[in-house]
């Protein structure tokens, strides 16, 4: 299964279309705060953009390892899948992720986890984000 990779962030223009479409499609919300991918600047807009997003860990997956209910399960190809009904909102996954790519949604009391659907890559005008076969 394919996974999302932020390959060419040098080319990012900071339009945040990825965040807008991720939040719309996956959380049915207009707010970019609901996006599973986040584009940040280092040192203001004159700095470089970076994408904070699930790195599609393979083998030992830290967030899944700490999940006490088994709501987070290893995903084929990399990353995890979230079974919302099983999640008790403990937030251990949030702290376990080294790249801070799991966001806790204070409204639903569940984490927002990238599912590597690739909608963000489809709407990236400069090809910074790509859906690729697991590396």
């Amino acid at each position: 299964m394919k996974v999302l990779k932020a390959m060419q962030m040098n080319r990012c223009i900071g339009c945040l279309s990825c965040m807008i479409t991720c939040a719309s499609v996956n959380q049915q919300d207009h707010s970019i705060l609901k996006s599973a991918i986040r584009i940040k600047t280092s040192g203001g807009l004159s700095g470089k953009f970076i994408a904070i997003v699930c790195q599609a860990c393979q083998g030992d997956v830290p967030c899944a390892e700490v999940c006490p209910t088994g709501a987070l399960a290893k995903r084929q190809g990399g990353g995890v899948t979230l079974d919302k009904d099983n999640c008790d909102g403990c937030q251990r996954c949030v702290t376990a992720c080294t790249v801070d790519a799991i966001y806790f949604d204070p409204e639903t009391k569940k984490p927002i986890v990238c599912k590597h659907c690739g909608v963000c890559a489809r709407f990236c005008p400069h090809g910074c984000l790509q859906l690729t076969e697991g590396v």
């Binding site: 223009i13 279309s17 807008i20 705060l33 609901k34 986040r38 400069h126």
Partner: protein, 585 residues
């Protein structure tokens, strides 16, 4: 507010620190953006007081679909312009529109005068007026860095701020929005400075459930595809607006050396291609816009022996290349970027700065002013002197720069040389000496900008000139732009957001409006603007146009004053009819 027929207005009184939030359904008949801002300006302005009186308002507003569709990226600011003394209206992109929508305010009205240098933070219902004494005097770049570090909310905030020129209330001081965008024209920076406000930080946390996800995303996707898969926007993405340098030059419409000429013989050296070759390092976008029209140019310069270099990155556009390039006779891309950096840091409007310095140069050449006044041997092409002059202008260095800082019209009146002061109704002209459409358009346009009615495009589209047709085109365009601006859509997308698309976009998020509704909204807005201008004592028939506009040929040859007068008269008649009919709207 999204999915609601109500306008949320945040009122801030700096003198008393009183904060009020009103939910106003009565304002919905203005839709949002410039409509709501115009109405709020009419309600809160004080026509009997000067533009920089503490009582005068600053109004910021966004539209009902801000931040959720591609290129709906602008925030409108309305105020009384210290430069023209009448209706002030300016637009900026960046992140401001998105953050205002995420903080939940459609409009913000700021009045009063803070007792000490301050900056305002708007974070949900938590509005604070904070101490800015330590950051007062900083250039707009540095102050942005300090506030970024000091305030929380990285990634979901917008920081707008003024530079030293705004603090000194230079009448054409600008406001920097998120490093690369600006409320450039008509002096909003001076209005902020007059209120003792250095910066405003907007941080938004609000979420909004999409009510019909499929309908919304279908429309989002179709607009996104038109932006990225057709050539509608390619002009703005590829070379960007500087593509116009050579095009306008070829037409014989490029104001050069204070419009003593209409072509620049070295235009090819500062064309869009030249900037790409010499300086372009990246492109950037306003939030929600996949076009990325912001072209960042970089250059390096030596500052000491021993190979000590510093590098400078600034955004460039056509109007800046005109005002700080051709109008000043400068033919090197690096040097234009150097002057752009100076207006960025000091917080001045680039067009007004270029025009005022071009006037100063010609005045010095003609002996109308002396070097004792200009302090510098200003000469066309001499970038080093212009850089210093920009600093003097921002600093109001002496009596001369003090007057020049009140605008080119004011300087012409004080020193003479009004005949070649390139302004219309007090606003310095943009870079299109195309013909009657442009000149009349600047005069009758609500804010005397080429963006009111695109007179320059009227001139370029007509084959055989017809006064009546030109007047109709200007009037219709002004009305249509009232509609687009009520939604704060970037005007680069004006062809994309035709009526059909606008109605579809609105419908997908629950606003069922008709074509006729939009027409009425446009008329209502324009009529309100006309009433404001009347209250502020403006009459386009009283505007005295500098002789230079009639001496230097346009792309259609020399202009005749009597034709301009007749056209203005006809336009005024159309406005009176609209005003009469607007009572019924």
């Amino acid at each position: 507010m999204l999915y609601e027929n109500v306008i949320n207005v945040l009122y801030i009184d700096l003198a008393t620190s009183r904060i009020e939030i009103k939910r106003r359904s009565d304002l919905f008949e203005f839709l949002g953006g410039v409509g709501v801002a115009t109405k709020l300006l009419e309600e809160t302005m004080r026509p009997e007081l000067p533009p920089l009186a503490p009582e005068q308002p600053i109004v910021l507003a966004i539209g009902s679909i801000s931040g959720i569709y591609p290129l709906v990226t602008k925030t409108v600011a309305m105020f009384i312009s210290p430069l023209t003394g009448e209706l002030g209206e300016s637009y900026a992109g960046g992140r401001l529109a998105l953050t205002l929508s995420m903080v939940g305010y459609d409009a913000v009205v700021i009045q009063g005068h803070a007792p000490r240098p301050s900056y305002i933070t708007i974070n949900g219902e938590n509005i604070e007026i904070k101490d800015a004494r330590a950051i007062w005097g900083m250039d707009s770049d540095t102050v942005g860095q300090f506030i970024r570090d000091h305030e929380s909310g990285s990634g979901k905030r917008s920081i707008i701020r003024i530079g030293p020129a705004g603090e000194k209330k230079v009448h054409f001081a600008s406001v920097c929005v998120d490093t690369y965008r600006h409320f450039g024209r008509l002096g909003l920076g001076a209005v902020m400075g007059s209120k003792n406000v250095k910066a405003i930080v907007v941080t938004g946390d609000k979420t909004t459930k999409i009510q019909s996800p499929k309908d919304y995303f279908r429309v989002y996707q179709s607009i996104f595809k038109s932006v990225t898969e057709t050539d509608l926007m390619s002009k703005y993405h590829d070379l960007g607006t500087p593509i116009n340098v050579e095009a306008i030059n070829e037409l014989g419409a490029l104001p050069t050396k204070n419009l003593t000429e209409n072509r620049f013989d070295r235009a090819d050296q500062i064309s869009g291609e030249a900037f790409v070759k010499n300086n372009l390092v990246r492109k950037m976008a306003c939030t929600g816009c996949p076009v990325g029209c912001i072209h960042i140019g970089q250059f390096r310069r030596v500052f000491d022996e021993g190979y000590d270099y510093e590098s400078v990155s600034v955004a460039y556009d056509y109007e800046l290349i005109y005002a700080l390039g051709t109008l000043l006779g400068i033919s090197k891309t690096d040097e234009i970027l150097y002057l752009i950096e100076a207006v960025e840091k000091t917080g001045l409007d680039a067009i007004s700065t270029g025009v005022s310095l071009a006037w100063a140069t010609e005045s010095l050449m003609k002996g109308i002013v002396s070097e004792a006044e200009t302090l510098l041997p200003l000469a066309f092409g001499d970038t080093t002197q212009y850089y210093k002059a920009i600093i003097y202008l921002a600093n109001r260095e002496n009596d001369f720069y003090n007057v020049l800082g009140e605008g080119t019209r004011a300087a012409g009146i004080k020193y003479g040389g009004e005949d070649f002061a390139l302004q219309v109704a007090g606003n310095e002209i943009p870079g299109y000496h195309t013909g009657y459409g442009n000149l009349v358009g600047l005069n009758v346009g609500a804010r005397h900008s080429h963006l009111c009615n695109a007179g320059y495009a009227v001139d370029q589209s007509i084959k055989v000139f017809d006064e009546d047709k030109a007047i109709d085109a200007l009037f219709e365009e002004e009305l249509e732009r009232c509609v687009l601006n009520s939604l704060t859509i970037c005007l680069f997308a004006r062809k994309l957001y035709n009526r059909e698309t606008v109605l579809k976009a609105l419908k997908a998020v629950g606003y069922t409006l008709t074509d006729d509704d939009l027409t009425r909204i446009g008329q209502r807005i324009f009529a309100t603007k006309l009433r404001i201008k009347e209250k502020l004592g403006f009459d386009p028939r009283q505007v005295e146009l500098p002789k230079r506009f009639f001496e230097t040929p346009t792309m259609h040859g020399k202009l005749d004053t009597s034709v301009v007068e007749r056209m203005v008269e006809k336009y005024v008649k159309k406005c009176s009819i609209l005003l009469k009919e607007s009572v019924k709207l």
